[in-house]
């Protein structure tokens, strides 16, 4: 039985990736024998997938300083719905395989990209953007480490002007960082192989994260005939739009593309643009905000609660808060400094009750998470900026009086 939520997720993702949604798509059986495939076939969409011909835009930093970003596009060939298999754990020591069937049959969405990317960095950036989109849509949490987003990289090399070379498929990539590494390694390997007069086999390779290289996968056989056959238990999937929706229909039974379209949340690129426009921050800043889970909300909360201009707030968010979080490997949600506390602190700074350097000291104290307010910390450490002109003159005079020698040296130059 087809899972409605999967269909909706696929339609949302297809729309977000500018795809054409096929109003009629079909399901097929892909047959092969494997311990983690209990039915002996996988249900997939080989003939007519649910969405085709889309595009994904992503940005790269030209240099490492994040000061210049360039936008690139990768074409999306198709999105198809299919079933997950179980998981096999090979226990070579005891010559046995343990099969976990808990996830067998769960719905998967496969997004197939065209070979428009040229290096690990591009692949990583594209996948990162896809991850953000999926998370924004709610289609998937897309956490690679937990297998919610699985990435297989198809890599080939060719001389400019010549057709694409033989490709290899690289699997077992568990993070975006590893994706970039695996792709770059494989490109190098293929170039070296070809320059040494060898050939590239159309094979599947696994990425070994410890060694940082790709190795041929041991149990993938040669070309298999999957004996594709239409899935007889699932009728063709018909999706409707406002025009084609039949009159007396049970809304539980149909998926309306237009209805979903109207309810699409702001995609990351739109969110970023809005942040730049609303707050006057730089595009690079908006990237970091959207890239970090919860950071945008945190930033906006602070902005709401302080008189400090967003352009200045962003510095505190990106330079102070974020670096502390990264140092301690914490997520925004785990931050010991809440937006309320930070806003409080920034207000003190804005009202010139403390200096910038004092504020940084207060921030460090806040980080300890002892429950003290900025004002309490300021009083405790006597960090108040003295506003009274006379008092200031008195202090300066006292210092000058104490340090006669130095004063003379300063006056003499």
């Amino acid at each position: 039985v087809l899972n409605r939520r999967c269909v909706e997720a696929a339609v949302m993702t297809g729309l977000a990736l500018n795809c054409s949604i096929n109003r009629k798509s079909l399901f097929d059986r892909k047959h092969y024998f494997y311990a983690d495939l209990p039915a002996g076939y996988q249900i997939t969409q080989q003939r007519v997938p649910i969405a085709v011909n889309g595009s994904l835009s992503y940005s790269l930093c030209i240099d490492n300083k994040r000061s210049q970003m360039v936008t690139k596009t990768v074409r999306i060939k198709q999105i198809q719905l299919e079933q997950d298999s179980g998981k096999s754990l090979h226990d070579d020591a005891r010559s046995q395989t343990l099969v976990d069937l808990n996830r067998a049959g769960v719905g998967l969405m496969e997004v197939v990209m065209e070979p428009d990317m040229c290096c690990g960095e591009e692949a990583a950036a594209a996948v990162r953007e896809l991850q953000l989109i999926l998370q924004t849509l709610g289609s998937s949490q897309a956490i690679m480490a937990e297998g919610q987003l699985r990435v297989d990289a198809n890599v080939s090399v060719h001389h400019p002007g010549e057709p694409h070379g033989v490709r290899t498929e690289v699997k077992n990539i568990n993070s975006i960082r590893f994706l970039a590494k695996a792709v770059d390694y494989e490109i190098q390997r293929q170039i070296e192989e070809l320059e040494n007069g060898g050939t590239i086999l159309n094979e599947t390779r696994a990425f070994d994260s410890k060694l940082g290289c790709t190795v041929p996968m041991r149990d993938k056989e040669g070309k298999q005939d999957y004996r594709f056959m239409p899935e007889p238990n699932l009728p063709p999937l018909i999706l409707y739009n406002a025009k084609s929706l039949p009159a007396n229909v049970n809304h539980q039974q149909v998926v309306n593309i237009d209805w979903i379209h109207e309810r699409l949340p702001d995609l990351p690129s739109v969110k970023r643009a809005k942040l730049v426009e609303l707050y006057g921050i730089l595009p690079e800043h908006s990237f970091t905000l959207v890239n970090e889970d919860g950071l945008t909300e945190f930033f906006e909360d602070v902005v709401k609660q302080t008189q400090m201009k967003p352009k200045k707030v962003i510095g505190w968010i990106l330079n102070d808060l974020l670096s502390y979080l990264k140092q301690h490997s914490l997520t925004v949600k785990e931050s010991p400094v809440s937006s309320f506390l930070l806003a409080d602190l920034l207000n003190l700074l804005e009202k010139k009750e403390i200096s910038a350097s004092a504020a940084k000291q207060v921030f460090e104290e806040l980080w300890k998470g002892e429950g003290k307010t900025p004002l309490e910390i300021v009083k405790e450490k006597q960090l108040e900026l003295i506003q009274d002109q006379e008092e200031l003159e008195q202090i300066c005079q006292a210092v000058i009086d104490e340090r006669e020698k130095e004063v003379i040296m300063v006056v003499l130059g």
């Binding site: 059986r29 494997y34 076939y41 395989t97 056959m229």
Partner: protein, 523 residues
């Protein structure tokens, strides 16, 4: 004899008989007809418990419906929770399913008493009910007075041993169970005729509903695009009752239609002058026995004389049907059998050198030749290089076959009348002279087109052959027009007055209560 559900239902309500008595009677009859080999598993304990529950409901005056307390049997390719489901195969010997097939659950929810699981050809592949691991099913009519009178045995023992006839298949166990009065109705399955064929050979009503009307969830699949649960009863009214309990959308089966189904009571037709009966000339196949041809002819005349329009029609693609059926059937079988790998359930070979070798050994040990043959053929047709030429072509021809029917029904024909089988039931020793593939090709020929087109069809027992064995005729109706189909079938049933089987074993169990119901009929 207690032929009719309505009557027995009334008897239960009036307290003339109790569900437990009824259940015990049936269980006892099962024991005394054990030689028929109709049942693989008899669920005595659970059946009696169900009967007990039913009895309590009747005592409170709150039966669940007409089927409350009625003993039924289920073909052993339907999943039954807690009761072994084997499909007559080594592959599933000892397999206890954790869930009930939807149709089984529906019957139980109506208070029916599940007596046991009936015998079949292994994985429902066959037309004789002879190729399962538990051995062949014997047609109760082999032991009927009608048959014995017509055959001259060389000696008493010779008759018993060598002259017993097959039930037909693959739902032979269910047919034998109903035919020998051990239950009131039984579930079969029908992929190419597997319910109608044994119905014809055992003198029963065998209904193949429209594809999509009854849920297949829990029916171990043979050909997903053609399988339907089948209903075997002793009269058309009973079939309508069971249909009413089973039909309707099942969210667990995406191939069931969404529309609401209204159970119906069959009207008693008296005037057939508005009826248009089609006689497809292509069903006059070579190999059709003269006897059956004569019965078919007589039936056509019956309708004509009663005022109906009887018209010869064409279904031009009929002769391609059986071949296409084989291509599509084996392809889906190959796919559906892929799940039997010994890992999760069922038989697992001791071979453990590697996963592949374990799979190979398990499947060789678990499946019989018939199943393996079909898997090999099916995989051949699904190979990339063959797919277009076999599978796709067969699907295209299937569309043409379905369109033949659409055209005919669109031209004003209400019901088609055809033979169900080529002859009456053959003796077992004759039947096994040919292999399963050959037999299936012959025996399915008149029934499989209805499966290809998804249409409802019903076998109505019509007359006895010269050998004293049942001959049935098939009515094919429009999609989802079961009411019209059954109404016409019921009229026909009333006209032909097919005789009741006279079985010694059963007569021996005759007790007072049922005597007077022997030849009663409801209308």
């Amino acid at each position: 004899k207690w032929r009719i559900s309505f009557q027995i239902s009334a008897a239960l309500r009036d307290g003339q008989v109790t569900p437990i008595e009824l259940c015990q009677r049936c269980l006892s009859l099962i024991k005394s007809t054990k030689f028929l080999n109709a049942y693989i598993t008899v669920a005595e304990e659970t059946a009696l418990k169900q009967a007990e529950e039913s009895e309590k409901r009747y005592q409170r005056g709150k039966p669940l419906g007409i089927l409350d307390g009625i003993p039924i049997a289920v073909k052993d390719n339907f999943n039954t929770a807690g009761i072994e489901t084997t499909c007559a195969s080594n592959m599933l010997k000892g397999y206890i399913s954790p869930y009930n097939a939807t149709v089984v659950q529906k019957l139980l929810d109506q208070g029916a008493v599940l007596l046991g699981k009936t015998n079949l050809d292994e994985f429902a592949m066959g037309s004789g009910s002879t190729d399962g691991i538990f051995g062949p099913v014997k047609n109760p009519w082999s032991y009927s007075r009608q048959y014995k009178e017509k055959t001259v045995p060389k000696s008493e023992s010779e008759h018993e041993e060598s002259k017993w006839v097959i039930t037909g298949g693959s739902s032979g166990g269910s047919a034998a169970a109903v035919s020998s009065f051990t239950c009131f109705a039984a579930l079969g399955s029908d992929t190419g005729g597997s319910t109608r064929n044994p119905a014809a050979h055992c003198g029963l009503v065998g209904l193949k509903p429209t594809y999509g009307l009854i849920s297949r969830h829990g029916l171990i699949p043979l050909v997903n695009s053609m399988d339907v649960p089948g209903i075997l009863t002793r009269c058309v009214d009973d079939a309508a009752v069971v249909l009413g309990a089973l039909a309707g959308h099942d969210p667990k089966d995406s191939t069931t239609i969404q529309d609401d189904f209204q159970p119906f009571q069959l009207p008693s037709l008296t005037d057939v002058s508005k009826l248009s009966i089609g006689i497809p000339k292509e069903y006059h196949v070579p190999g059709l026995s003269g006897e059956i041809l004569a019965v078919w002819s007589k039936a056509a005349d019956l309708f004509k004389n009663a005022g109906a329009k009887v018209i010869e029609v064409n279904l031009p693609h009929t002769r391609y049907s059986i071949v296409c059926y084989h291509v599509l059937c084996t392809a889906e079988v190959a796919s559906n059998m892929a799940r039997f790998d010994g890992l999760e359930y069922g038989h697992r070979s001791d071979m453990n050198k590697s996963t592949e070798s374990m799979y190979a050994a398990t499947r060789r040990e678990g499946f019989n030749d018939v199943v393996r043959g079909r898997i090999l053929s099916g995989n051949y047709f699904l190979l990339k290089q063959n797919y277009e030429n076999y599978f796709v072509k067969a699907q295209k021809v299937r569309r043409l076959i379905a369109n033949d029917f659409v055209k005919v029904f669109g031209s004003g024909i209400d019901i088609l009348l055809t033979p169900t089988t080529l002859s009456d039931a053959v003796p077992y020793i004759e039947f096994i002279k040919e292999d399963n593939r050959t037999r299936s090709a012959q025996d399915d020929i008149l029934t499989q087109a209805a499966n290809m087109a998804g249409l409802p069809a019903i076998n109505v027992p019509t007359a006895l052959s010269e050998r004293g064995l049942p001959v049935g005729l098939q009515f094919i109706g429009r999609s989802f027009q079961e009411k019209q189909l059954l109404t016409v079938a019921k009229w026909f049933e009333k006209q032909v007055k097919f005789p009741m089987i006279q079985l010694e074993e059963v007569n021996g169990h005759d007790h007072g209560v049922f005597q007077h119901q022997k030849s009663a009929s409801i209308s």
